[in-house]
């Protein structure tokens, strides 16, 4: 005890205590804090960006430029955000097959993991809308009727009453929304791909988007029933007129031919 009490007032004692305390807190923090996870995420993120950059260099750079700055063949991707990538690549529109009025939907050639990597890379070029989480486009808490009203006000001009698609000028078109993943519909509204105007949250709130998606699912989804029978493509009077001519009048003329061919035989006198 003599030794200890002799050193208690040593000028360096405070320093030693401070060091010990620091070591303790540091050790405890190292033991309890989720430091390791944070570190791993960070590295995964940068890994994704690296991988995305490689994919980008192979699949996208020829049109969008080596750094996403855009060329005469493709627009700049700086600031378009992960949502735009997820939509364009996730629906198979990108990489484009050929230049044209509009790049059509086709078979998706990247896996979702690769798409996420590409999205991470593009998102790293500049801030833009992120890929929405499922609760944003899920059916919970959505007002279908409101969605219908919003759809008819904002979308039907191009996409038809129930999203069957329509024509735009010079070979461009608003595609059918049948069978489109709700996530992609959300992203399309958010980012305005190709000829579509964008509807950011300031124009159409998150709730509005959710309502529209729920409406489309109700009138154009997989389990939508057509109470009146065959919907004839939902294209309105043109397909109805064609059907009336071919199957309505066509059948009646066939019946008329049949009736006229079966007649009472004239009596030979």
């Amino acid at each position: 005890m003599k030794k200890l009490s002799a050193r208690r007032r040593h000028p360096l004692a405070a320093l030693v205590v401070l060091l010990l305390a620091l070591a303790c807190t540091g050790g405890l923090y190292a033991a309890f804090a989720p430091a390791s996870k944070a570190q791993a995420d960070e590295s995964a993120q940068s890994l994704a960006i690296d991988e995305g950059k490689k994919l980008y260099a192979v699949g996208c750079a020829s049109c969008h430029g080596t750094g996403g700055q855009g060329t005469s063949d493709g627009p700049s991707l700086v600031g378009v955000g992960a949502a735009a990538v997820d939509f364009q690549v996730g629906t198979g529109r990108m990489p484009a097959q050929q230049p044209g009025a509009q790049v059509p939907k086709k078979k998706v050639i990247y896996s979702q993991a690769e798409i996420d990597q590409l999205a991470a890379y593009i998102a790293s070029l500049g801030a833009g809308p992120a890929i929405p989480s499922e609760e944003k486009y899920g059916p919970e808490g959505a007002d279908i009727a409101k969605g219908g009203e919003l759809f008819r006000t904002n979308c039907a001009q191009c996409h038809n009453f129930t999203g069957k698609g329509g024509a735009l000028t010079h070979g461009k078109f608003a595609p059918s929304l049948e069978g489109v993943d709700p996530k992609h519909i959300y992203e399309a509204m958010q980012t305005g791909p190709q000829n579509m105007p964008s509807f950011p949250d300031t124009t159409l709130s998150e709730q509005n988007k959710k309502d529209i998606i729920a409406y489309l699912d109700a009138v154009n989804g997989d389990d939508t029933e057509s109470p009146g029978g065959l919907s004839l493509g939902g294209l309105g009077p043109v397909s109805e007129g064609l059907f009336a001519w071919v199957f309505g009048l066509g059948a009646l003329i066939a019946v008329a031919v049949w009736v006229a061919a079966r007649t009472a035989k004239a009596k030979k006198s």
Binding site: C158, N160, F161, A167, T169, A218, S231, L232, V255, T263
Partner: protein
């Protein structure tokens, strides 16, 4: 028979009940002579003569189903909140007309089926009238004495179009509302009076609160009433004129060969009514039409792509879609030629076919009655005109659906629009020339068949090695049918100078008529049909085959 004959003397004192009732009625209504004259009316048999019946029966079906629909439809534009069974519209504000149409579709027993029968029958009715009119046109059945009946039929078609349009507008859904807006725009484009007419029609600014109830009376009362009258007149005239028939052995301009109205045609027509009703009901049960619940209630601030009228108004849609958006701005007023010109062409397209019979009779100067139908090939100019008119009509229908052509055939809507603009002028000319050539080719073929017989397809080798195809001579009936038509000589002006050298005055219309007549019946326009001498020479000669 024998029992009836035996009973007859016994019951001489008192006639059977049926006879007494008939006698009672005859004494007051004079039905004996009426029935005697009409029950044995003869009708010829041909499937194309039943197209008119298709129209008549679909009209009856439309009336029957329409009466049912009026029981549940509320022609009111008062705004209500929807609380029916269709979930995607719950709580939406809409007019009572739209809400009651939803109720008919979802909450009235059989309502949706009846609505669909009503609408499908309307489309079939118009299509039937169109084809019926074409049958009458191409066979020349509109000639004297049937010109007035042709006009009755034409009026029925036009009134049918507008009855259809007003009916299509009643549910006050987004699609039909857009159609009404289109109509309002067309009315507004009329210089000076357009605005006044529009305000009169809608009771103020579009859409107002009146048009559904106004269209309702027009749709269920005014137009169908006129149509019913015309229809009765049309049928009475068919009875009075008797039906036309195709040429054939034993068929002349003075007789009608066929079956009597009673009992054969009564049975056939009655059965055919149920067949028509059946076909339309099956179509209505299979396929949906005008799903107004998916279309949504009308609001003037909303519009959808693919907004087209029903098919019979499609050509007017085509006119407006392909017309360049020209306008003239002067002295603070705008003349919207882009809408006004289509509005002017719209009735002209219809009038062109309506007045044709009168033009033809003027050109040919033919004042005789015709009860034997022409085969279209034997009237090449008429047939060519009809096909040219159809070309215009269908080109405009393409224009009216240009967006669907674009999306379904991966074309540019601009390219289609330009195609329609060019084809509107070029198409009928090409169609006219091509049809006339085809008709002449068919006339040559008929001539060849008459003179040389039918190609049998049998190749025969003669003893000396020559191969010939055996031609089968036609039967007398076939020969008659192929040569029964009359061939006209072009009307000539005649010498303009008489024997004394005095010049005769020839008016411009006479010259025009002679020219048109030449184009109708000149050497270029018909192949002389084989004469008896030609036929005899060829069939009696040796070495012909």
């Amino acid at each position: 028979m024998s029992t009836a004959a035996n009973e007859a003397p016994r019951s001489r004192g008192k006639a059977p009940a049926g006879e007494r009732v008939a006698d009672w009625a005859d004494g007051r209504l004079g039905i004996y002579s009426l029935a005697k004259a009409n029950m044995r009316k003869i009708f010829p048999d041909h499937w194309s003569f039943m197209l008119g019946e298709v129209c008549l029966y679909s009209f009856i079906i439309i009336i029957l189903t329409g009466v049912y629909l009026t029981l549940f439809f509320h022609p009111s534009m008062a705004e209500v909140e929807y609380h029916g069974s269709y979930v995607p519209l719950q709580g939406q504000m809409m007019s009572e007309a739209y809400a009651s149409t939803l109720d008919i579709s979802f909450d009235v027993r059989g309502g949706l089926l009846i609505r669909q029968i009503h609408h499908w029958a309307a489309l079939v009715f118009l299509a039937g009238m169109f084809v019926h009119m074409m049958r009458v046109f191409f066979t020349g059945a509109f000639r004297k004495p049937r010109e007035i009946n042709w006009l009755f039929g034409f009026l029925l078609l036009v009134l049918g179009m507008f009855t259809g349009f007003t009916g299509y507008s009643l549910p006050d859904d987004l699609l039909s509302g857009t159609g009404i807006r289109f109509m309002e725009g067309a009315i507004l484009s009329v210089p000076i009076v357009g605005t006044y007419i529009s305000f009169f029609l809608f009771g103020g600014e579009f859409p107002g609160h009146d048009f559904v109830s106004r269209f309702y009376s027009v749709h269920i009362l005014l137009l169908p009433g006129i149509m019913l009258g015309l229809l009765v007149g049309h049928l009475i005239l068919v009875f009075y004129h008797k039906h036309t028939q195709f040429a054939g052995p034993g068929k002349t301009n003075k007789n009608v060969v066929g079956m009597p109205l009673l009992p054969v045609y009564t049975a056939k027509a009655g059965g055919f009514f149920f067949l028509v009703f059946g076909v339309i009901s099956v179509v209505s049960a299979i396929a949906t039409i005008n799903p107004i619940w998916a279309i949504g209630p009308y609001r003037p601030d909303q519009v959808s792509t693919g907004a087209q009228p029903d098919w019979y108004m499609g050509f007017s849609e085509g006119l407006i879609r392909v017309m360049p958006g020209w306008e003239i701005n002067a002295w603070g007023h705008t003349l919207v030629l882009g809408v006004l010109i289509p509005l002017i062409i719209f009735p002209l397209v219809l009038a062109a076919i309506a007045v044709y019979p009168f033009i033809e009779s003027w050109v040919t100067g033919d004042k005789r009655e015709h009860h034997i139908l022409d085969r279209p090939r034997n009237a090449p100019t008429r047939t060519a005109f009809g096909v040219a008119w159809l070309t215009v009509y269908f080109v405009l229908l393409i224009g009216g659906g240009n967006d669907l052509w674009a999306t379904h055939f991966h074309l540019s809507i601009n390219a289609i629009t330009w195609f329609v603009r060019v084809a509107f002028f070029v198409g009928p000319v090409v169609a006219f020339i091509a049809t006339k050539r085809i008709c002449l080719g068919l006339q040559r073929r008929d001539k060849d068949k008459v003179l040389h017989g039918r190609e049998s397809g049998i190749i025969k080798r003669l003893p000396h090695g020559e191969f010939i195809e055996v031609h089968e001579p036609l039967s007398q009936e076939q020969l008659h049918t192929l040569t029964a038509h009359e061939q006209y000589k072009p009307a000539e002006i005649g010498p303009t100078v008489d024997e004394n050298g005095v010049e005769r005055k020839v008016s411009g219309t006479q010259k025009l008529r002679a020219k048109l007549s030449e184009s109708y019946y000149g050497e270029e326009s018909q192949i002389p049909k084989p004469t008896v001498e030609e036929y005899k020479e060829i069939t009696s000669g040796h070495g012909h085959h």
